[in-house]
């Protein structure tokens, strides 16, 4: 346990499992314990996760697999088993929810929690509760997690990353600004590559340099994000921990086995991705109006193209029909390494919705789709497929995202 003067007064935590996929694989194959393990697509694709042994050899996640194998030729490459990881992720989340209802998942293996007001219930401070949680995760699930504890989400997330693996790191109010001042701006929430470059052009590289500029100036220069930069640079973040935050979009994407420029190769994959997203939307009881196609070129340029539908849908057929023309327009000889489809502008089923005059437009298709779903429910997702999805097996379907 760490010592910290504010330790028992902080309540916002971020829990992040350590090398999640790789740790689970090592747990299930103890003979790999001290060997480098990389999880990801076998021939191609990127590293989805790698253990700390592999990291020490220069492998990191999102690295192209061929590079990873160059850096670490003896690594054991394991094909991801998303089902297994999701199950473990749910177990971790259940343990968190045991402690507080305020759990906000960020992804399969990380989440925020707010433990304010739980002291009486657990008869100890949030810090002690969290230490017990980390221990429980390790003992019962045989994986490890790192925890960051602070007074807001932004700093809690930074803290959990400070002391990985098996870390427990605390950032208190007193030290926040000093700690932040000599950190690079990229540490701040919302500062990606483009923003970093923009700030750098303006001579701002460190958080401390940002903190010296006043709010009005930052807003004038960078627009809405200026206020957030200003707050973050001061160690402030007014976002609350929101359990079950409503999904704003749903998407599914996959890195292709090999770069593909031809429509014939991309179409069936797009169809399968549309089916995946549609299936998940049906499960979540939502439908969406905005459809986005995402492509990544062989030289890592991201292309997104979108369109709005007349009315919200969760039909794979309609999603595909909206996205396919967008794909067709991008076919110009460029080779793509990744393709994805996303739906945004979501509405929940049961919300007031405009009635349709021609329920019959596309209704045969939706009957077909309902029948397909029923068959899959009973016999598994591979039991029946549409012709346009045949002949392609997705090697590694990237994690579907809900944002």
């Amino acid at each position: 346990m760490v010592r910290h003067s504010e330790l028992h007064g902080l309540t916002i935590a971020h829990l992040d499992c350590d090398a999640f996929y790789a740790t689970i694989e090592k747990r299930d194959r103890p003979e790999l314990r001290d060997l480098p393990v990389v999880v990801g697509g076998r021939h191609r694709g990127v590293v989805a996760a790698c253990c700390y042994v592999a990291r020490a050899r220069g492998v990191h996640s999102a690295m192209p697999m061929f590079k990873a194998l160059k850096a670490c030729p003896d690594a054991t490459v394991i094909k991801p088993d998303m089902k297994k990881y999701a199950a473990v992720g749910r177990q971790v989340r259940a343990m968190m929810r045991n402690l507080t209802p305020l759990v906000e998942p960020l992804s399969i293996d990380e989440a925020f929690m707010d433990l304010a007001g739980t002291e009486a219930l657990h008869r100890c401070s949030p810090a002690t509760t969290l230490a017990a949680l980390a221990r429980r995760v390790e003992e019962e699930l045989s994986i490890t997690a790192s925890i960051g504890l602070s007074y807001n989400k932004f700093l809690a997330k930074i803290a959990s990353d400070r002391d990985k693996p098996r870390g427990f790191s605390v950032i208190g109010r007193a030290e926040a600004r000093t700690f932040l001042s000599d950190q690079p701006v990229s540490l701040l929430w919302g500062v990606g590559k483009a923003m970093r470059q923009r700030l750098s052009r303006d001579g701002i590289r460190l958080v401390g340099e940002l903190a010296r500029i006043d709010q009005a100036e930052l807003v004038a220069r960078y627009g809405k994000i200026g206020r957030r930069l200003w707050l973050c640079a001061r160690g402030e973040d007014d976002r609350r921990v929101e359990p079950e935050s409503k999904a704003k979009s749903m998407s599914s994407e996959t890195t292709l086995d090999r770069d593909t420029a031809e429509l014939a190769g991309l179409r069936p994959i797009l169809w399968q991705l549309a089916e995946t997203v549609a299936r998940r939307m049906k499960k979540a009881g939502i439908a969406g109006k905005g459809v986005t196609l995402k492509l990544k070129t062989a030289d890592f340029r991201i292309v997104t193209r979108g369109r709005r539908l007349h009315s919200a849908t969760r039909s794979a057929e309609e999603l595909f029909r909206a996205a396919e023309p967008l794909l067709v327009r991008e076919i110009d000889g460029r080779a793509f390494r990744l393709i994805g489809i996303g739906v945004h502008d979501l509405v929940e089923a049961g919300q007031v919705a405009q009635g349709e005059l021609f329920g019959s437009i596309g209704s045969t298709e939706s009957k077909v789709e309902k029948a397909l779903d029923a068959v899959r429910e009973k016999f598994g997702s591979a039991a029946i497929v549409k012709g346009r999805g045949l002949g392609i097996k997705l090697e590694r379907q990237g994690p579907s995202k809900v944002e």
Binding site: S311, V352, Q354
Partner: protein
């Protein structure tokens, strides 16, 4: 090329071609208007490849020839000139000199070689009264969809049968259907054409000054629709795809009707809609015992209600609509009173002019589902 033309003559025709001028500048020549000086007249043309407009105006041609010049700038220049004779001359490298009174301009141009050739209007199939056609468009155009998926809804369906002239438009949520008696008995076969929304809007402009006796010659090729009004020709690519079976959704059992004053209803809906839900724009209509109540509620703002007297006793109706859809119809119909016909709380409502009209106008709106 050199000619002299009256400013107003030229201005009017150049103005009418603007709708066919490409606004995006991906293909520069599409932003230009073609001027072709022949014997005693100037032929003008503009096209964005989907839509083309041709026209002509009288001029004193000193030297025949042709050029293309940026349509928007040319129009602005003409507008700015005094109402006098304008002298226009093509210079070297397709420059255009424009002189009027004491003003003179030198405007850039492009050679005509790359200007797309508009499809040729070969045979007129039918002559339609310009006023009638305009009436059909005004009563349906707002229901045409702007769809990226169901393309066939992006146009209004024009049907010419031996004894009737019909236009139908729908965006899948509401449908406008208007039919006039006609005399097209010479037709060898019925005409059916899907006219894109943009072409309808340009036709509205072209037809707006038509006199009572003026007619439009209509024709179609495999890919294009042609509308000739005197010296003006509008060519449009036709909308492809299968227009939905609209007849199947025209209500047959909406027997519970109420007749209302058009303006009163519109005013009340506009009033109540101020607090309608921002997303769905729903107003709820409750019809019972000689009262029509209009209600709205907005989770963030509050709620509103208003009511109208109504001669109605056919059982309670409680139904929600997108208020804009209702207002669109009330603005398009000319009759001072309208009939609102219902079947039940879930089925489509129908609006129509209540008075005797020389045409049949029906507007079908799907309610909001809760």
């Amino acid at each position: 090329m050199e000619f002299t033309v009256r400013k107003l003559d030229m201005l009017q025709e150049v103005g009418l071609t603007q709708g066919a001028v490409e606004k995006k500048t991906t293909i520069p020549i599409l932003a230009n208007v073609l001027l072709d000086a022949g014997s005693g007249e100037i032929n003008l043309a503009a096209t964005n490849l989907d839509l083309g407009i041709k026209s002509s105006c009288v001029a004193k041609v000193q030297e025949p020839g042709a050029v293309t010049t940026p349509a928007k700038n040319f129009l602005d220049i003409l507008r700015s000139l005094p109402d006098e004779e304008v002298r226009i001359k093509k210079l070297e490298n397709n420059w255009l000199r424009i002189e009027c009174a004491s003003a003179s301009f030198k405007l850039v141009g492009l050679p005509t070689d790359n200007f797309p050739t508009l499809p040729v209007f070969e045979t007129a199939l039918v002559e339609i009264s310009a006023r009638d056609l305009l009436g059909l468009i005004n009563k349906t155009i707002f229901s045409v969809a702007e769809e990226e998926v169901r393309f066939a809804l992006n146009g209004a369906l024009l049907l010419v049968k031996p004894l009737s002239l019909t236009m139908v438009a729908t965006d899948g949520h509401r449908l406008a259907h208007v039919e006039r008696p006609g005399n097209f008995e010479h037709l060898s076969s019925e005409i059916s054409a899907l006219i894109p929304k943009k072409a309808l809007a340009e036709l509205q402009r072209l037809l707006s000054e038509a006199g009572e006796k003026d007619t439009v010659s209509f024709g179609q090729s495999e890919t294009h629709l042609f509308f000739q009004m005197g010296k003006r020709l509008l060519v449009s690519r036709m909308v492809t795809g299968q227009f939905p079976n609209y007849e199947a959704v025209l209500p047959k059992e909406n027997h519970r009707s109420v007749v209302l004053d058009r303006e009163e209803l519109a005013t009340a809906i506009r009033r109540v809609s101020l607090l309608a839900d921002n997303k769905s724009h729903t107003v709820q209509i409750v019809l019972d015992n000689n009262k029509l109540e209009i209600r709205s509620s907005n989770a963030e703002l509050g709620e509103a209600r208003d009511e109208l007297d109504a001669d109605y006793s056919a059982g309670k109706i409680d139904i929600g609509f997108n208020c804009q859809y209702i207002l669109d119809f009330l603005a398009a119909t000319e009759d001072p009173s309208i009939s609102f016909d219902f079947k039940d709380d879930e089925s489509a409502g129908q609006l129509r002019p209540a008075g005797a009209e020389d045409y049949r106008y029906r507007y079908v709106v799907m309610p909001m589902r809760v």
